[in-house]
Every structure is written in C-alpha cells, then in structure tokens.
Symmetry: C2
Subunit: 134 residues, 2 copies
C-alpha cells in the first residue's frame, strides 16, 4: 500500500547511475541490470519509456546504449514517474479516473481532505530532481 512500482524504482536507479558517471559515456541496459541486479528485460522496457519521453538519449546498434538527455538537476522525479507510468500517482482512484470510476463518488466525504496530502506529495515529486539522489 502506498508503494512505488518496481518500474519507477528501476528507472530512478538507472537515472541515478547515469548522473553519477561521466556525461558522455553511454551505458547499456545490460550493464545496469547486472550492476544493480535488476531483471534485464524489464529494465530495458523502462529505459525505452524514458527514451521516448526524451529524458535519456538512445543510441542503437553495437556500441550503443543510453545517455542522459539533460542535466540531472533538470530532471524532476515527477517527469520520471509520468514517463514510466501512464497514470499519475493518486491516493484515491477518483482523482485519477474521474467521477465515473468510483462507485461511491457522490457519497464520498474524504476526497477533498485527502487532496491536501495529495498536493503535498505532488509538490515533492515536482521539486525533487535526479541531482538530489546522486
């Protein structure tokens, strides 16, 4: 409950790795998966997502790999989450999917108060960058 998904964890670990090494050095998914003991195929897909979101730059072919596309201080945690998960992290489903999704929407009395906590978390993800986790 209230847990980050493995995909996001793996993504953050990978991004931290990129940020910790020289900018111009490409890293392959295999390297990272071995170094951090992460399932290779799964990490590969996460990196693809990050690549599509222009957070990292991909180079195909032999001697290919990935490099950060921006400075670590420019990459917000929220960017990473949005790139990997297609729906934003929400305390209650009603926020994410709208009134139709929740059967007790009209009778719900805690949606508004929960918003305070939600906002707080959002702000944190929006403020913190990869540079702060190196």
């Amino acid at each position: 409950m209230l847990r980050l998904s493995k995909r996001v964890e793996y993504g953050l670990i990978a991004l931290r790795h990129f940020a910790a090494i020289n900018d111009s050095t490409v890293c392959t998914a295999k390297e990272i998966s071995q170094k951090y003991n992460i399932p290779h195929e799964l990490l590969a897909k996460v990196l693809q997502k990050l690549s599509q979101a222009r957070i990292i730059q991909s180079y195909q072919g032999v001697r290919g790999g990935y490099v950060l596309a921006h400075a670590p201080s420019k990459i917000k945690i929220s960017d990473v989450i949005n790139a990997i998960e297609h729906e934003k992290p929400m305390l209650a489903e009603c926020y994410a999917d709208g009134p139709a999704s929740c059967i007790i929407f009209d009778d719900c009395t805690i949606r508004r108060p929960l918003g305070k906590i939600q906002k707080n978390i959002n702000d944190f993800f929006h403020t913190m960058t990869i540079a702060e986790i190196v």
Copy 2:
C-alpha cells in the same frame, strides 16, 4: 500506484461519519455501508480492526453498534492506517520488510533519497487528525 487501499478509505469515511454526528449515538456497520454505498461485509471487517485498536468502541447485540472512543482531534490518520493495515505505508519494500526482502538491497542507490519523501508523507499522516476531515 501510490494508492491508499479501499480499506483505509472506508475506514476514514466511517470515522468521519462518527465525528460528524452526535458522540453518544451508536451507528451500525449496516447503516454506514448503506449511506455511503460501501460493501457491508468489508466495512464490518474494517470497523472490527478499528475497534481492536481502541479507536472506536463496539457494542454488541441488538441495538448495538460503534461509537468513537476518543475526540476526533485525538485520532491521527496514521493511527487509522496502522490499525487497518498491519504494515506501514512505505514507498519501497526495503523500508518495510528489511534487507532480506529486497533482492537489490545492497546494490540499491535510491533508498536513502527516497527516505526524504517517505518522512514527509509520514509527518503528514502523523499530524492530520479526523477532526480536519469532518
């Protein structure tokens, strides 16, 4: 992802209901489940947990039901979560279950940075009370 469980939602809704009405009036699980359109059996189980944690007082038998055991301002959100969920809400499993649970524990580089966000959320749950959601 990063979502509260239904059990906690239902628990909060029920507690808010208790806080909103007269202190000495007992409410049955059935009443609340009908009013807020919540599955009766599931809510009943949640209320049992809250009763065991001394957050609400139970009265058995016909004309029985539940009443708040303390003033709403004395009931913290974290108390409610702890009562309903046996393990605390944690961004990453490594916090909750210790080193043995996470295969990448030794290689993990994001555990410590994540702690900042974790602490922030914990503080919020520890500060906010039922009185603030009435």
